[in-house]
Every structure is written in structure tokens, then in C-alpha cells.
């Protein structure tokens, strides 16, 4: 997997330079869309560097909204969010693109670019980071091979099945080895074997230092893991399980 960008060498958030900085911190965060009711209420939690967390909760509990706040797609109605040591409320807009490039997101609806091949979709984060095709072609091909799409490099998303599209979306989210990986129902469209394979990919990435948060309904996925579990109920966050050693 590719690494680094033209913004300078990437440093792990838990390395000496970052000290013991927290990867993500929410303090009394509330969120409402327009004049509607609050979707999230007084959400307070933090993700430590290199942690692996499941986010669960019923449909409509606010999981996707919480993820949107984390990948800077929405601004909270109230409360404080700290990302990679940056207080978002006081950060300039120009500071956001480099922060966003440190986050990999697997969207529930994949959000692949329909006119681009699987290869070009996966390579997109590396292009945005300023890498040249010669630098990333091999990495992208290896990653697509790893997720079982080595023979579909040039296929465009409309010709791929739901499961194949999901694997392209996951490959795109992890190709730049982000510091923070957020995944919204990443195993929703794949069979159990592929689901386990993808979970191993997330685990491997986590062992290399990436902080992972997976929003899922899949209890079997959670039960097979010893990771921390946060649960959203009616917009409030409760911690169900601490990570097992």
C-alpha cells in the first residue's frame, strides 16, 4: 500500500512527534439538521491512536451522522470535536483538506465514480495526494488482487456486482494507508467468507497503526472480535464493551 504525500512525510499519530495525542475526541456534541430534532445528543467519546472500535445501534440511531462528523462532511450544531489534535471549531478551512486525506471512508452506498475503472477509483486518493501513476500502479493492482478483483481492474462500477463494488470502495479507502479508517456497514453486501477476509484486511491495517471504526449491524462480526463496542441509542452514545486484552 502506498504511503506519504506531498504535504510532507506522514507520521503515525501515536509516534514520538504526536506524543500521546488523541486521534478523535467528541465532547458534548449535538447535531440537528435544520430546525428538526437533535439526531445526536451530548455525544462524548474518544478514539485512541491504533484502536479498533465497532459502532452499533438500530437504524436511524445516528451512526451515519456520527461518521459524517468524523470525516468532516458535516459541522456539529454544538460541542467540540478534536481530530488529530486539531480543534475543528478553531481550525481554518484550508486545514481541512490535509485532515480529510488522512481519513479513509467506506461509504454504505460505495460512492464510486461510475465513469472510472475499478483501478482508477482505487487510485483516486493517491492522485489527490499528488502521487504519479508510476508510483502507485503496482500497489493498486496488488490491493485489487488482494480483495479478489485482480481480473476486474478495468471494469467500471456499473458492470460490477454489489459485493465487487463494495470491495472496490474498501480498497479505495485503505489504499493510502489512512491514519483513521471509517467504514459504514462494510460487509453488508458480501458473503461470510469475503466478510472475514475484509475484516482481516481491517485488522492488518490496524496492526500497522491505523485507527479503525466500523459501523455495523453484523453481530457475528462483532462477536468474533475482541474490539471495543460503542452503541448509539436515540442519538446518545453508550459504551457496551471495552476492548479485551
Amino acid at each position: 500500500m502506498a504511503r506519504g504525500s506531498k504535504d510532507g512525510p506522514m507520521v503515525r499519530p501515536d509516534s514520538g512527534l504526536y506524543g500521546r495525542r488523541i486521534m478523535v475526541r467528541f465532547e458534548n456534541v449535538g447535531m440537528r439538521y435544520g430546525p428538526g430534532p437533535e439526531v445526536l445528543r451530548d455525544v462524548t467519546f474518544q478514539l485512541d491512536p491504533g484502536s479498533f472500535t465497532f459502532l452499533t445501534g438500530p437504524s436511524g440511531a445516528g451512526k451515519s451522522t456520527l461518521l459524517k462528523l468524523m470525516y468532516l462532511a458535516e459541522k456539529p450544531s454544538r460541542g467540540l470535536i478534536t481530530l488529530f489534535g486539531n480543534d475543528l471549531a478553531t481550525s481554518k478551512r484550508s486545514a481541512f483538506p490535509p485532515l480529510r486525506r488522512r481519513i479513509g471512508v467506506v461509504f454504505q452506498d460505495f460512492r464510486l465514480l461510475a465513469h472510472m475503472s475499478a483501478f482508477d477509483n482505487v487510485a483516486l486518493p493517491l492522485r489527490l495526494a499528488g502521487a504519479k501513476p508510476d508510483d502507485y500502479t503496482q500497489d493498486v493492482e496488488e490491493l485489487l488482487n488482494w480483495v479478489g478483483l485482480g481480473d476486474r481492474l478495468n471494469a467500471v462500477p456499473p458492470t460490477l456486482s454489489g459485493g465487487e463494488q463494495q470491495r472496490v470502495a474498501i480498497a479505495r479507502a485503505v489504499v493510502a494507508r489512512p491514519d483513521l479508517l471509517l467504514a459504514d456497514e462494510p460487509t453488508g453486501n458480501v458473503d461470510a467468507d469475503i466478510g472475514q477476509r475484509l475484516l482481516r484486511l481491517f485488522g492488518e491495517l490496524n496492526r500497522l497503526g491505523t485507527t479503525v471504526l466500523i459501523a455495523t449491524h453484523d453481530r457475528s462480526l462483532i462477536e468474533r472480535s475482541s474490539a471495543r463496542e460503542l452503541r448509539l441509542v436515540d442519538g446518545r452514545l453508550v459504551e457496551l464493551r471495552q476492548p479485551r486484552a
Binding site: 481519513i103 465513469h115 483516486l124 486518493p125 489527490l128
Partner: protein
């Protein structure tokens, strides 16, 4: 080769047709202003640096005054004046040719007492005192008048300037309409590709990266559409020039419609400027739209 960020659009979009038509009109307006400029210059060159002396038939020939005597005296004054380069007395036959289009050529017209015309050239840049010259000629030919064409040149110049400025105004209006259409289309394009913009923005693409994808897209498509429109207009000017070259009578009262090669080169400015307007508008629209996203 890296993939395009924006999908390629199939076929000519309505915007391309609008831009092509507007480029056609802009090219016609630009060509018309070039023709008007050239015509104004030829009018000025044709009349400037020349004077015409008109000797009327004396009312009382009995006093020994004849038109021939007064013409000869006026010719001598003109020839002896510093700054006059050439002097020609127009024959009666030539004078008849001049009035023929208005009065016809029958016997009655031939009996008309036509004045004697004298055409004289002035050395370019010579500081000629027309009032003094007029007074000296009037002394030998009281029923004469001296015309240095300044009145006509002024009126023709202001007519040509009116035509040129009208063409510039049409050009400016078309440029504003083109910029508005491109701006509207860019915003519509942004709306249509909102998912792409949002995804790129969310993945950490800098505003400049996203704007570049749009501005290049609209620069190329506008350049192509405007080149097609300007090409048709240039063809029309070439055709008009070809007809004149082939001896087909030009439109009465209008200057020759064919453009010279140097003037045709100016028409290239229409697609280039259209493309640049599209480029700038697309960039500003995209950056403004991105500022509205968190």
C-alpha cells in the same frame, strides 16, 4: 494516462449550440467593425490632402469676366502656392460624367451651365492656410468656392465611428451573454456532478484540483463550440470576398464585404476569448460553490 475526473459528455449539449451561435454573431460584429474601420480610413485617405475649387459661370460676362479667364487665374494662383503638389482642371466631359447618375445624359442636360472643377493635391503635413487661399482665389473669381472636404471628412468619420462603436457594443453584449450562459451551465454542471464534487471534496481534494477539472472541461468545450461558430462566420466573409473577386457586384452603398488575411486573423480572437471567459467563469463558479460546502 490518468482517467478524467469528470465524465465525457456525449454529443453537443444545448450550451454548445448557444455558444456556437453567439460566437457566430460575435464574429460577424467583429468583422463588421473591422470593415467599418477600413472603410473610414479609405474615406479619409480619399478626401484628405486634397482640395476642390469650383468656379461658377460669372453672372455678368459683359464686364469681361469669363469662366475660362477666371479658371486660368485660379490655376495660376494654385500652382504658385507653396504646399500644392498637383493641380488638374476637370474637363466638361468629366463633369458631365459626374452628374450623369443623377440627371441623365440627354441633350437638355448637356446645355446646363456646369461649373468648372479644379482638383488640387496638398503635400501631406503641409500647414495650408485655406482661408487665405480662398480669399486670393475669390479676388480673381468672385463666384468661386474652395472646399477642403473637412466638413465631409468629419461627418464620414463620425458615421464610421458610430458603426465601429455599435459593433463594439454588440461584441460586449455578446461577451456578457456568453459569460452568463457559461456561468449558468457551469453551475448546472456542478449540480449534475455534485456527487463527484462532494466525494472529491470529502476525500481531501484541494479546491484548485476540483476547479481545474471543471475549468479545463468548459474551456475545451467552449473553445470547440465557439471555433465552429466563428468558422462559419469567417467562411461567410471569405465567400463575400470571393464573390467580389469574381466580379459579382457588391451590395449598393456598402463597402466591400471581404476581409483581408490580416483582418481574418483577428476573428481567431472570438473562440480564444470565449474559451478564456468560460475558463474564468467555471473557475470562479466552482470555487464559490465549494465555499458553500463545509
Amino acid at each position: 494516462m490518468t482517467a478524467r475526473i469528470l465524465p465525457r459528455e456525449k454529443g453537443a449539449a444545448p450550451l454548445d449550440v448557444v455558444i456556437g451561435v453567439m460566437a457566430f454573431l460575435a464574429t460577424l460584429a467583429l468583422g463588421a467593425s473591422l470593415l467599418a474601420q477600413r472603410q473610414a480610413e479609405s474615406w479619409r485617405a480619399g478626401l484628405a490632402d486634397r482640395i476642390t475649387v469650383q468656379i461658377l459661370l460669372p453672372e455678368h460676362e459683359t464686364l469681361g469676366r469669363t469662366m475660362e479667364n477666371e479658371t486660368e487665374a485660379a490655376l495660376q494662383i494654385l500652382r504658385s502656392t507653396d504646399g500644392i503638389t498637383d493641380v488638374t482642371a476637370m474637363s466638361q466631359k468629366d463633369a458631365m460624367t459626374l452628374v450623369q447618375p443623377w440627371l441623365g445624359a440627354d441633350a437638355m442636360v448637356k446645355d446646363l451651365p456646369l461649373p468648372q472643377l479644379i482638383d488640387a493635391g496638398i503635400q501631406p503635413g503641409a500647414n495650408m492656410n485655406i482661408a487665405s487661399l480662398t480669399a486670393r482665389i475669390k479676388a480673381v473669381a468672385p463666384d468661386s468656392n474652395v472646399d477642403d472636404h473637412s466638413h465631409w471628412i468629419g461627418r464620414l468619420q463620425s458615421l464610421a465611428n458610430t458603426v465601429i462603436w455599435a459593433a463594439y457594443a454588440v461584441l460586449a453584449l455578446i461577451a456578457i451573454a456568453t459569460a452568463s450562459a457559461v456561468s449558468f451551465a457551469t453551475r448546472a454542471g456542478l449540480e449534475a456532478h455534485h456527487d463527484i464534487v462532494e466525494l472529491l471534496h470529502g476525500m481531501g481534494a484541494k479546491s484548485g484540483f476540483i476547479a481545474r477539472a471543471f475549468e479545463w472541461h468548459y474551456f475545451v468545450s467552449t473553445l470547440a463550440a465557439a471555433a465552429a461558430g466563428a468558422g462559419v462566420a469567417a467562411l461567410a466573409f471569405l465567400l463575400a470576398g470571393g464573390l467580389e473577386f469574381a466580379g459579382v457586384e457588391p451590395v449598393p452603398f456598402l463597402p466591400p464585404l471581404g476581409l483581408h488575411p490580416g483582418e481574418l486573423a483577428w476573428l481567431l480572437a472570438v473562440p480564444v476569448v470565449s474559451g478564456l471567459i468560460a475558463w474564468a467563469t467555471a473557475r470562479l463558479s466552482v470555487l464559490a460553490a465549494l465555499r458553500e460546502i463545509y
